[in-house]
């Protein structure tokens, strides 16, 4: 009985990992495929990486996506933190219930509706006040911020709820003004939640296709939009190569974050 359990655990674990990572591994493997056809293996080659370097459309879209993702993550973190703080720390103010509902709504709202609503708003605003003039990176970023700040607000809220309110009171009591307390005590203590929120907002923006399709304009195609439209014409192995590079970058980021956190934990002991 006890001798069999490790094999059972091991096979379950192997199945779980396979389920998660086989698609990614096959994507990376096929990025080194000699053949033009994604599904036929014709020997090892790095030529798709070389040709990716000359595919300006794909690289341009990746660059657009990255810039939108960074801007979105930063704005969403600021707004989401303010909303989360207001909901947890400001007691029962007028309209608190309404704010809580509205902040949470984008979490359950279908992307199609959010995208369409944003598009209608941008068009109406352009006609009324002349801004935003046309659609492009700005409108995609604004639309992304509206839904990803909800995620940040939820993460910040759950962290703040567990934070002993007497820490902030102690800082007030020692003579720090409320804004100073927020920056010197609250922010450092919820920093892990802010980092998690930033990363989540970054990821949400990076792989959003629906909302970006609604709110983008000429010259502002994000990576998912370009990949999706080129897949309809047949997948190019260059996309595999680009995806492999992204996976590599994310892996390096996670490893660095893990090492830093482990070092910090070791220092705290």
């Amino acid at each position: 009985m006890s001798a069999r359990r490790p094999t059972l655990v091991f096979s379950l674990m192997a199945f779980g990992y396979a389920f998660l990572y086989v698609p990614i591994v096959s994507l990376i493997v096929y990025s080194f495929n000699e053949s033009r056809l994604v599904t036929v293996w014709a020997g090892f080659s790095t030529k798709w990486y070389a040709s990716l370097m000359h595919n300006d459309q794909l690289l341009g879209a990746a660059w657009v996506s990255l810039r939108i993702a960074v801007m979105n993550a930063t704005l969403a973190t600021i707004l989401g933190t303010l909303a989360g703080t207001a909901l947890v720390r400001f007691g029962r103010f007028r309209g608190r219930q309404a704010l809580a509902l509205m902040v949470g709504a984008p979490l359950v709202m279908p992307d199609v509706i959010l995208g369409l609503a944003s598009l209608l708003l941008f068009v109406a605003m352009e006609q009324l006040v002349g801004w935003p003039a046309g659609r492009g990176m700005t409108t995609i970023t604004i639309a992304h911020v509206t839904f990803s700040m909800a995620y940040v607000a939820v993460i910040v809220q759950s962290r703040l709820v567990r934070l002993d309110p007497s820490l902030e009171e102690a800082a007030l009591d020692l003579g720090a003004r409320p804004w100073k307390v927020f920056f010197v005590i609250t922010i450092p203590l919820i920093a892990p939640a802010l980092a998690a929120g930033w990363l989540l907002a970054f990821t949400l923006s990076l792989d959003d296709l629906v909302i970006a399709s609604f709110t983008s304009g000429p010259g502002a195609s994000t990576l998912p939009m370009v990949v999706y439209s080129s897949v309809r014409l047949g997948v190019s192995p260059e996309i595999n190569a680009l995806a492999s590079i992204l996976v590599g970058l994310v892996t390096i980021g996670i490893v660095i974050a893990g090492v830093v956190m482990q070092r910090r934990a070791a220092r705290a002991m």
Partner: protein, 377 residues
């Protein structure tokens, strides 16, 4: 421990100016009156305790003093200035929190320096004063540690140092010893009192532990349901409680409900059905016969005998129902004729108990009229 006491304590001196004046403060949370029309004067140099069970409003009152709660009615004066509307960061008051609330991301020295940094004290002076504080709470060499690298007792001392470093006129302490284990708590009680007397800072402490309040305070206020039920020195409150709540809350007590039948000078005769007898008690005021009141006597003032004792002011007899041997004292519960249970406490002076009493024996109890208190309220 204390130096020679002045002839007149500050609270007895009509010319003394109080440091803290709480005037008719009321604080409600929805329908609930957390603090209900409380007035209190606290004088410089006092170690004042707010004592009560949880939910009695003592912590809310402390938070009103710190500025974290704004009273619905009434005002708070500190050093003669109305601070009712002032935020916590503008009050000459510091607080030590029950959870200590040490900033986990700052070192011990940075925690202590936090208050001074807010006042833009020069760096060299900050370093000196932090070093002084670390010496005061016996934590030299711990300045570089983080709070989670300290024991509970050390954290308590850091919290104390952080609250004292700005030299406030008034220090508020919310259950300062609540998180310490029993042995450490007793030791820390004396340290805290010594420190308070050395620094001359006024302390107001919230506690639910009556022993702690009795040991440490110059005066204390007993609170219940948002109201102050009695203010006085520990001995006044213990020996002369002025209502049934305080008598029952502080220490153990024998309480007999009855009606006044006669008054001779300052001695009242009370008929009590509980006791099944007439009881004599010293009266504080004149009382009309027929008035209902409670006669209250502490177990250690009740003497217990195995044989009929010589006549005394209040003598009752009954059978021994419980005996609890606690080492230093033994406690006897006696069921008397009226059906009430009388508790008597006997100090075990000799190694073998003086009263050869056992369960079910008949025994006699007896106490002086002077040792009992008559309570109208």
């Amino acid at each position: 421990m204390a130096g020679p006491r002045p002839e007149l304590e500050a609270w007895q001196d009509p010319s003394a100016a109080p440091l803290v004046e709480i005037r008719n403060v009321t604080k409600t949370f929805g329908e609930h009156y957390a603090v209900d029309d409380v007035s209190l004067s606290i004088y410089p140099g006092e170690f004042f305790s707010l004592l009560g069970a949880s939910g009695c409003g003592k912590t809310t009152l402390l938070r009103v003093l710190a500025g974290f709660e704004k009273p619905d009615k009434g005002s708070v004066l500190i050093g003669g200035h109305d601070v009712t509307g002032l935020p916590p960061y503008s009050r000459p008051v510091n607080m030590m929190f029950q959870s200590y609330a040490l900033f986990p991301h700052l070192s011990v020295a940075d925690n202590i320096a936090f208050g001074l940094r807010q006042d833009r004290v020069p760096r060299a002076e900050i370093n000196d004063r932090v070093a002084d504080m670390l010496r005061l709470v016996k934590l030299e060499g711990y300045g570089g540690r983080k709070p989670d690298q300290l024991s509970g007792g050390q954290r308590q001392r850091v919290a104390l140092a952080r609250a004292l470093v700005k030299q406030p006129q008034l220090l508020l302490l919310d259950e300062p010893l609540g998180a310490l284990d029993r042995k450490l708590r007793e030791h820390t009680q004396f340290e805290l009192v010594n420190l308070q007397q050395r620094l001359g800072i006024t302390f107001i402490m919230v506690t639910h532990d009556q022993e702690e309040a009795m040991t440490m305070s110059t005066r204390m206020a007993v609170m219940n349901e948002g109201r102050i039920r009695q203010v006085g020195t520990p001995s006044e409150i213990y020996e002369h409680p002025n209502n049934r709540f305080v008598a029952g809350f502080i220490g153990a007590v024998n309480q007999f409900e009855g009606r006044v039948v006669d008054q001779q000078g300052d001695t009242l005769t009370v008929h009590s059905d509980d006791a099944g007898a007439e009881l004599r008690v010293r009266a504080q005021h004149d009382v009309i016969p027929g008035t209902p009141l409670a006669v209250v006597v502490r177990p250690e003032k009740v003497r217990i005998f195995a044989e009929p004792p010589p006549p005394c002011d209040n003598g009752l007899t009954g059978t021994v129902e419980e005996i609890a041997y606690l080492g230093d004292v033994s406690i006897y519960h006696l069921r008397i004729a009226g059906g009430a249970l009388v508790e008597a406490q006997l100090t075990n002076r000799a190694r073998r108990g003086a009263a050869p009493l056992s369960w079910g024996d008949q025994a006699w109890v007896c106490w002086n009229a002077d040792d009992a208190v008559a309570l109208l309220e």
